[in-house]
Amino acid sequence: MSKVLVLVEHDNASVKDATLAAVTAASQLGEVTALVAGASCDAAAQAAAQIAGVAKVLKADDAAYANALAENVAPLVAGLMADYDAFVAPATTTGKNIAPRVAALLDVMQVSEILSVEGPKTFTRPIYAGNAIATVESSDAKLVITVRGTAFAKAEATGGSASVEDVTATADSGLSTFVSAEIAKSERPELTSAKIIVSGGRALKDAATFEAIITPLADKLGAGIGASRAAVDAGFVPNDYQVGQTGKIVAPEVYIAVGISGAIQHLAGMKDSKTIIAINKDDDAPIFQVADIGLVGDLFTLVPELTGKL
């Protein structure tokens, strides 16, 4: 049976959801060891030990790992990989930053954003903005994989009882330092884990109109708020709202696209949603080709009416 090392994404206190999908994917390959690298990250390590399917937790607690800088975390992982057959990371910005650096240090090709595990070294992954699905088989001695969170069920966050083992930190590379972070504070469900998402496009005109039209509907439904690239570029909302090939990949129960035409780039980020609802005044908009339920008309009257009737 293979031994799999999973990168735990965390904020030193709790484990982020994306890790749970990565654990599910890793369990299909072999015995899972979770790696928690951070500074004063004992709480996160304890949380990782509770995840169902995790056999062991490795805790690397050092100031060098405080902000998950790839220059410090990648050599740690590469060193640990002497004892493992595969390294699995969630395909979040943290995972995407670290995993390829690990792969190059190990001289192996990374398999990015897998959708399924087809065999011990065979995986499916989307290419061309999700317009094609490739099945690939690795010939490398060790695997480095990132996992698309929406493609795997989340492992149960509790019920496990793994032991936590300390590992020795590698030295700070001295190549990079953390300066600051601006994290958008929100009471809303996180986009990638929201059950319902209301998403707005360029048709919303400006930031104030976006807020006035989209927010009340999202509040009514307890939904996360997303946006197309056009809406982000126009400055209606911050860029971490962006759903698409180059933004977040989401697959909620219900995705409501308001004033979004449905460019390839956007569809790549949401077409695996269970039910897609589109509200758009253009009857020929490509979004209607993927929408389960479409409503053609002026969003400035329809959306407030919808919000009022819910």
Partner: protein
């Protein structure tokens, strides 16, 4: 300082790719090809740094088929000073591309290497990080804003949930996100001038790189097609549907 910018020739982002009937890949015959959009942003950023006097020379590099020359000419027309084409008729994986770029970097000694965050064909998002690893240099991935301050570069990065700023020791590798800048168009006189700028031809063997693929593509298929939906007449009908689904 010298800037090395990596560009890739890919299917134009407006084209809807077609999967070949035999499942061997995506049909690229007679399809419009262009520079990867993230790489345009990379070139643009290098030019802006040159305009600020931070960068003295911009070298554009591409690994790929002979026609990648066109992509390099576009980079030269935008403002790159010279170009290097590493000729390879078969598809090259990110790890091999990264090794070639690292080899070229050892020869050229750039202060800054800029790549796009990902190519829109294989969607790998690996080359920049791998180049940084192979050279033992820091990486500023998904850059939203950069500024060179003495012997360091400050990179504001787009991360899940917001932005993160890091300070990297030069030389460094930066990968571009969409919002780093708005790339310029090449003017006709500059397109003409670009034809006489130097373009060197190299091969992977020049850098001692074996480009044999590590991943074997077994098949490529169309994604599952969504079943046709319905259109509702008015908001009441939509509300009824939402209630049916238990959402409202």
């Amino acid at each position: 300082m010298k800037a090395l910018v990596c560009v890739k020739r890919v299917i134009d982002y407006n084209v809807k790719p077609r999967v070949k009937a035999d499942g061997s890949g995506v049909d690229l015959a007679n399809v419009k090809m262009s520079m990867n959009p993230f790489d345009e942003i990379a070139i643009e950023e290098a030019i802006r740094l040159k305009e600020k006097g931070v960068v003295t020379e911009i070298v554009a590099v591409s690994v790929g088929v002979a026609k990648s020359q066109e992509t390099l000419r576009t980079a030269l027309a935008m403002g790159a000073d010279r170009a290097v084409l590493v000729l390879c008729e078969d598809e090259v994986e990110p790890l091999a591309v990264a090794k070639i770029i690292a080899g070229l970097a050892n020869e050229e000694a750039p202060g800054l290497i800029i790549t796009g965050k990902q190519a829109i064909d294989d969607d790998s998002n690996q080359v920049g990080q791998m180049v940084a690893a192979l050279l033992g240099r820091p990486q500023g991935t998904f850059a939203n804003e950069i500024s060179v301050e003495g012997d360091a570069i400050v990179v504001k990065r787009e991360i899940d949930g917001g932005l993160q700023t890091v300070r990297l020791a030069l030389p460094a590798v930066v990968t571009t996100d969409l919002r780093l800048n708005e790339p310029r168009y090449a003017s006709l006189p500059n397109i003409m001038k670009a034809k006489s700028k130097p373009l060197a031809n190299k091969t992977p063997a020049d850098y001692g790189v074996d480009v044999a693929p590590r991943l074997k593509t077994i098949k490529v298929i169309e994604p599952p097609v969504r079943s046709a939906g319905i259109k509702v007449a008015d908001v009441d009908a939509l509300v009824a549907k939402l209630k049916e689904m238990g959402v409202a």
